[in-house]
């Protein structure tokens, strides 16, 4: 009798607890051996899968160098040799980030990586690409050099024509810099984590049109 009551209590407690529900969903969809796998399908050995990891690695360097730059402030990267070096590190990390991300995107396209319930992973990836373009754009506007001036004067017409310029003023350094160092990187980081969680939860997609079914 007491055993039954205890079991009913547990079931009732489990049904009423949001925490337990989330924990159960996490245990079901993202166990640790999926999050940090030590085994993968053998076809993951293809070189195409490297681009995703390189994109993440470049993002880490972009954020790391960006944190240093934002800590010391805009004058530092113009007036100091060390600041100039960190600005260069940031600049080239961004170039590597985009090269790897574009190769990853095209790789996933030609592998049709959205199959078997992975559409959300693809869509989040495209949104990350879009926000990355916007983040880089605000970065070029925040350089405080001649290119920033030229880009701002030209870009304002596109932004204004679409009504965006009323709220996103590319001629306002303070607004562009704030978006570049704070809100947009937070957005990218959050979406990259979501993207990775989905990749790990669902696993990599099977190859297209397996002839004769999956091979052992």
């Amino acid at each position: 009798m007491s055993t039954t009551n205890s079991s009913e209590d547990r079931v009732e407690r489990r049904q009423g607890s949001w925490t337990l529900r989330i924990r159960a969903a996490m245990e079901r969809n993202l166990p640790l051996d999926h999050l940090l796998p030590d085994r993968q399908p053998y076809y993951v050995g293809s070189w195409v899968y490297v681009f995703g990891v390189i994109t993440i690695a470049a993002l880490v360097w972009v954020i790391g160098s960006g944190v240093v730059l934002s800590f010391f402030g805009p004058q530092w990267w113009h007036d100091s040799g060390t600041g100039r070096f960190f600005n260069s590190l940031h600049f080239w990390s961004v170039q590597l980030f985009f090269i790897a991300m574009v190769l990853h995107l095209w790789g996933q396209y030609f592998m049709a990586g959205w199959r078997d319930g992975r559409a959300a992973t693809w869509m989040i990836g495209v949104v990350i690409f879009g926000i990355s373009v916007l983040t880089a754009f605000t970065g070029y506007l925040s350089q405080q050099d001649f290119a920033s001036q030229f880009i701002a004067i030209n870009a304002k017409d596109a932004m204004n024509s679409a009504g965006i310029g009323s709220f996103f003023n590319v001629l306002n350094f303070g607004q562009m810099y704030g978006l570049h160092v704070m809100l947009l990187p937070i957005g990218i980081t959050f979406l990259v984590v979501a993207h990775l969680v989905l990749v790990r939860a669902r696993g990599v997609v099977l190859p297209i049109d397996p002839e004769g079914g999956p091979r052992s």
Binding site: Y42, A58, F110, A152, N160, L171, G203, I208
Partner: protein, 326 residues
């Protein structure tokens, strides 16, 4: 998804894999490459143009631009939303987002770039105060006549020392006003006055950039740096550094009809190219995000055998599968 990963991969041979090692190696590799390139190639840092350098290096262009602000003939003076309501802004049929949001960043070019800076400087300058009074007291018609003759005279203006000289004529107070404005600019005063009048801290460069954009000096520097629109504009960077190459598709539309055409097609032409390119890129980006649901686009990977190259071990006949023999 419904199925677990174990169900999904049933029958697929699994191989040892070290995720953390792969990430650490990638971090080290990318870091070493970025450090080497940063140390060897540095990064772009061409000093920005200032109103002071503009007024020193191209006095006639500066005075012509300032006169244009008074005449309302410059880009910013006739722009429209979000700066003023003079121009209509770009539209495509009933789609006119530039007008929908109205004037949210008000800029009166004549007042902001010419009259107000002169008023600030006129406290200790009696001739300038008199000139300003004459200008502000004149009728719009009289101001227009002065501006018309002065602007024509500026096409044959000469530079003597730091000043602009025009042939004698009835220009009213304009020579005095422009001479004073040029002096303020050359002293660096206009750079500060336009950033954020009345405030100590400043991060908004809307006014000085609009003013400089109205002149030909900054555009000339951009042309020398190969940054202009005909050379794919915003995609470029000063020097030999890579710019925003990922904007190639966005920039490409500005190079081809109907976006370059005056007559255009279906109301799409060079006068509303900015709006149409933004709309087009929004549609294309949405299409990219929705590829998994769009027939043909989602089928292309099956038709183009790149996946056979990516997964060549997988598609290799069983007898030749190195994964099996290993």
């Amino acid at each position: 998804m419904g199925r677990t990963q174990e169900d999904y991969y049933r029958g697929v041979r699994m191989a040892p894999y070290d995720l953390v090692k792969e990430l650490v190696v990638a971090l080290a590799g990318v870091g070493i490459l970025a450090l080497i390139v940063a140390g060897a190639l540095s990064s772009p840092d061409v000093a920005p143009a200032t109103i002071a350098t503009w007024s020193h290096q191209d006095q006639v262009d500066f005075v012509t631009t300032a006169s244009g602000e008074l005449a309302g003939s410059t880009i910013s003076a006739a722009y429209g939303p979000p700066y003023n309501s003079v121009g209509a802004g770009q539209s495509w049929g009933p789609i006119a987002p530039q007008r929908w949001f109205g004037v949210r960043i008000p800029v009166n070019s004549a007042n902001a770039f010419v009259i107000q800076p002169l008023q600030r400087a006129s406290f200790s300058n009696r001739p300038l105060r008199a000139a300003l009074s004459a200008w502000l007291g004149a009728s719009v018609g009289q101001q227009g006549k002065w501006l018309d003759t002065y602007t024509k005279a500026l096409t044959k203006a000469t530079v003597q020392g730091a000043a602009v000289r025009v042939a004698p004529g009835d220009y009213g107070p304009l020579p005095q006003m422009m001479s004073s404005l040029l002096g303020i600019a050359q002293d660096g005063g206009l750079d500060g006055l336009l950033v954020s009048p009345g405030r100590f801290y400043q991060t908004d460069y809307t006014q000085p950039l609009l003013f400089m954009g109205d002149g030909g000096y900054l555009a000339g520097l951009a042309d020398k740096s190969h940054l202009t629109g005909s050379l794919w504009g915003m995609m470029n960077e000063t020097g030999s550094y890579p710019g925003q190459t990922w904007l190639w598709l966005y920039t490409m539309w500005y190079q081809i009809p109907p976006f370059t055409s005056v007559s255009g097609v279906l109301g799409i032409n060079s006068s509303n190219a900015d709006l149409m390119v933004i709309i087009l890129m929004t549609v294309l980006t949405a299409a990219l995000a929705l590829v998994p649901f769009i027939p043909v686009l989602r089928d292309i990977p099956r038709w183009v055998p790149i996946h056979r190259l990516v997964w060549r071990d997988y598609y290799r006949p069983k007898g030749h599968d190195p994964a099996q023999s290993g």
